[in-house]
């Protein structure tokens, strides 16, 4: 027979709060931990080439050609061109998070010509 204490409103309430706090912490941790600085991507382009990454920064230049939305994101460590196959580019000056596949198109020495193929956006 279960203990009456664990069905008490106080216990249930604290359990819900605990789970919510844990979920919140995990979301926060996941959000922070998975954002990769653009400078890190560009300096280690072969390591990240073809991998899904998340970046976050300011939209510096927004343009769409060839039926695609292309824009540049700067996060203070570097600038990366984002290619969107499905969405219009966000307005210049806005802050945006982008999840996508990092593609190093050309690497010469320690420098890379690279783009991020956008999969989704986050705030």
């Amino acid at each position: 027979m279960p203990s009456p204490a664990i069905h008490s409103p106080r216990f249930v309430g604290s359990r819900i709060i605990g789970r919510a706090a844990l979920a919140g912490a995990l979301i926060l941790l996941a959000g922070c931990a998975s954002v990769t600085p653009i400078g890190e991507l560009l300096q280690n382009s072969s390591k990240y080439n073809g991998k899904e990454v998340r970046i976050k920064g300011e939209v510096k230049e927004s343009a769409g050609l060839l039926g695609r939305g292309a824009y540049q994101v700067n996060d203070g460590t570097g600038t990366l061109t984002v290619i969107s196959e499905t969405s219009a580019p966000p307005p210049s000056g806005s802050t945006i998070g982008v999840k996508g596949v990092f593609q190093a198109l050309l690497t010469l020495g320690s420098k890379s010509l690279a783009v991020l193929q956008e999969h989704s956006r986050f705030q």
Partner: protein, 189 residues
């Protein structure tokens, strides 16, 4: 290759691009003007390197070149998607930049390079009174590309000439010496 019979369109020859090797040699030997528009055309540059240099060494010849803008990352991405050698294309374009920069150092030509940022629909090689146009495929699958030799005073020839003038308005103009700066600007890190 079909026999050269001039049609009202100005087309005098239709053949796979690879069948024009000797024709390019003849045109390079007999022409004074050459305007090039292509993505990198590595094979063409390799096949005709000696003839190109002989052409440039002849007095009175001019060379103008249109190449993709390496700083346009969206164009680089799109080109990479549409060719079977896609991942190599930015590197091959860099190689083309350096090839023409070397020619400019040795022969003072081309004096300027135009960098285009729109997706190319065909390539062309414009000589004095003939031009050779080669189609690009709409898919990434490798295939023989058809090419046409046209007279420059025909409808197709005038179309190419109009394109050249329009491209000079739309493209970024750089000296061959500036191409290393373009390469450097295109790269981050």
């Amino acid at each position: 290759m079909t026999s050269p019979v001039e049609l009202p369109s100005g087309i005098v020859r239709i053949a796979p691009f690879t069948a024009f090797v000797q024709r390019f040699e003849d045109l390079l030997a007999s022409s004074t003007r050459l305007v090039l528009y292509f993505i990198h055309s590595r094979r063409w540059r390799e096949n005709h390197d000696a003839a190109i240099k002989t052409f440039l060494a002849r007095e009175g010849t001019t060379l103008e070149v249109f190449l993709p803008d390496l700083e346009n990352h969206e164009l680089m991405y799109s080109l990479g998607k549409h060719f079977d050698d896609g991942p190599q294309i930015p590197g091959l374009i860099t190689d083309a930049y350096r090839y023409f920069a070397r020619l400019a150092r040795e022969y003072k030509q081309p004096a300027d390079i135009w960098l285009f940022g729109t997706y190319p629909t065909f390539s062309f090689y414009r000589f004095d009174d003939r031009a050779i146009l080669a189609l690009y495929s709409n898919t990434a699958a490798k295939k023989d590309l058809p090419a046409f030799e046209v007279t420059t005073d025909s409808a197709l020839g005038r179309f190419v000439d109009a394109d050249i003038e329009d491209l000079k308005q739309e493209c970024r103009q750089r000296t061959p010496d500036d191409l290393e700066i373009v390469i450097d600007n295109a790269l981050h890190g």
